[in-house]
């Protein structure tokens, strides 16, 4: 008998079939994948802005913010903030894609998490937008007061912990000391309102170049134009593999097109469908929070001139964190040089 056959027979003899208990090891992996059971007991739920993408959060902010805060022609500015507003100066925004609705934050059992963070610089003429996505597992020093002013100990933690610790203000303070860039406004965009925004408008048009049957996102539609309601719209902007090979750029583009289309729909509803528009504004208002608020002039300028397709994306230089290769840290001096462009 051949030595290899003999070896294989021995192997079959010695081997065991995997027991059902092997599933425990799968859970162990999932715990690690969800950001570490070491850090928190609750499992990170896939969904929210992390799935949709940081570019979509920024686009949503730039499109939805003016829409909602103009409040259908109401002349009263939400907050007067002359020092920073207007069109006279460049403006730095910290866009925070939060995984839940802003307005109910304090009443939910799980702490809110910032799924995505982006530093956005809008030029003085409002025509150029630069965006740096800040990875949520970037390790940074933070020292903040809580939402209610309670002191929080200085810690070295991953960036998205700042939002959980002290809300948007803590995120802004952390990013400011990390980058040296002054944050003029934080724009927190909640995720849960997305479906309701679309549903408030009735539906939003999408165009499919080819039929889609994507089990990952749950989208199944023939090619052509469709008017879709919220649930389908969500599947559409999330979808990565249904239309292409999974290119992220294609998806970002698709999300921008969708949000632009939604903004157009909202403009039309403003005159044609006042009830729907009111519901839309309410859904957005519950999903977007700007601190400090922006005055009407700035919002109008943003709405009129910012072109979401014209956003330039800058990559933040990072490397694996030396104490935990699962986390990231800034790569210097490249990171400092990048931030200097935004000052």
């Amino acid at each position: 008998m051949d030595d290899l056959n003999a070896l294989r027979a021995l192997g079959d003899d010695l081997g065991h079939e995997p027991p059902p208990a092997l599933a425990r090891q799968r859970q162990r992996l999932l715990d690690a994948a969800s950001g570490g059971a070491r850090r928190r007991a609750a499992r990170w739920r896939p969904g929210g802005w992390a799935v949709i993408g940081v570019a979509a959060a920024v686009t949503a902010a730039l499109i939805l913010v003016p829409t909602v805060l103009l409040r259908g022609g109401d002349d009263t500015p939400t907050t007067s903030h002359r020092a920073l507003g207007g069109t006279g100066a460049a403006m730095n925004l910290l866009v925070i894609g939060s995984d839940e609705r802003v307005s109910t934050r304090r009443f939910t059992s799980e702490p809110p998490r910032s799924d995505t963070l982006a530093l956005v610089r809008v030029s003085a003429d409002r025509r150029q937008v630069q965006m740096v996505a800040l990875p949520r597992d970037l390790m940074v020093p933070m020292s903040c007061h809580g939402d209610q002013g309670e002191p929080v100990k200085a810690v070295f933690a991953q960036l998205n912990a700042a939002f959980t610790l002290g809300g948007a203000a803590c995120s802004a303070k952390t990013v400011e000391s990390l980058s040296g860039v002054r944050i003029d406004h934080t724009v927190t965009v909640g995720f849960a309102g997305f479906e309701r925004m679309v549903d408030a408008l009735g539906s939003v048009e999408i165009v499919l170049p080819k039929p889609v049957d994507d089990p990952l996102s749950g989208l199944r539609l023939p090619a052509g134009r469709h008017r879709v309601e919220g649930r389908v719209a969500l599947a559409y902007v999330r979808m990565r593999y249904g239309l292409t090979d999974g290119s992220d750029l294609e998806r970002i583009k698709r999300q921008q097109v969708f949000l632009t289309s939604m903004a157009k729909e909202a403009k039309a509803a403003r005159t044609g469908n006042p009830v729907g528009f009111a519901r839309f504004v309410k859904a957005v208002a519950e999903s977007v929070e700007i601190r400090p608020g922006l005055d009407r002039g700035t919002l109008e300028a943003l709405a009129a001139t910012v072109d979401p397709d014209g956003i330039s994306y800058l990559a933040l230089p990072v490397r694996p964190y030396r104490l935990d290769p699962n986390r990231l840290e800034l790569r210097q001096p490249a990171a400092r040089e990048l931030f200097a462009q935004l000052r």
């Binding site: 008998m1 090891q25 162990r28």
Partner: protein, 216 residues
């Protein structure tokens, strides 16, 4: 112990595409391994699809070398290590099996004493469990059972590196190139380790097994 009737490990398969599995409903069933890994950069939980694909295969392999007691935990650890290193995975490699077996091999090495003890224990194991089987397989079975103690002794005596190469090839069903990838060594080195290991195994068998003399 599993019956000696257990079919051979795996047949021909396309690299990087999952073997047939009984469980269905997994949405990632057709994505190459490299794609799952790159997807896991943005969506860490996508990595679990690799577990679904390969944990059973790795479990069988480890249970052969170290027994079922160690295998479960070691397979779990393999995927944790793999997950930690996923950003260093070469995405040009569609098939993640060599990479995973490479990690397994390092983890198995920590248990090399108990592995050798396990093989040595087989030298004393009883010969000749009666197994019902089709007639044409009986001869092979009998001889497989008869040579088991000799084979086990030969395995126990092999240098660890030669044994790793041999068992990745014979029990892990990796090709020469895949063994080379798994161990991070040139293919030529794999070839020489395998030749050396097989020579020793053949020598051990040749003493007792007349059938082995059939091949030159």
């Amino acid at each position: 112990m599993v019956s000696a009737m257990t079919p051979p490990l795996a047949g021909a398969r396309t690299p990087g595409v999952p073997p047939r599995r009984s469980g269905s409903g997994e949405p990632d069933a057709s994505a190459p391994d490299a794609e799952l890994i790159s997807r896991s950069y943005g969506d860490p939980e996508a990595f679990a699809a690799l577990f679904d694909r390969y944990s059973a295969m790795l479990y069988r392999y480890v249970s052969r070398r170290l027994g079922p007691e160690v295998a479960e935990d070691l397979v779990g650890e393999t995927f944790l290590v793999a997950f930690d290193r996923r950003r260093r995975y070469d995405l040009a490699q569609q098939d993640a099996r060599p990479w995973l077996f490479g990690i397994v091999t390092k983890l198995v090495a920590r248990h090399h004493r108990s592995e050798a003890a396990r093989y040595r224990a087989l030298r004393r194991s009883p010969v000749g469990e009666t197994v019902e089987s089709p007639d044409d397989e009986v001869a092979a079975m009998v001889s497989a059972t008869a040579v088991r103690p000799l084979l086990a002794e030969a395995l126990a005596a092999l240098p660890r590196r030669d044994r790793d190469a041999l068992l990745l090839f014979a029990w892990g069903d990796l090709s020469y190139e895949e063994v080379a990838q798994a161990l991070g060594i040139p293919v030529g080195t794999v070839r020489s380790r395998l030749n050396r290991a097989r020579r020793k195994v053949r020598a051990a068998l040749g003493d007792a097994n007349p059938l082995s003399r059939e091949e030159g």
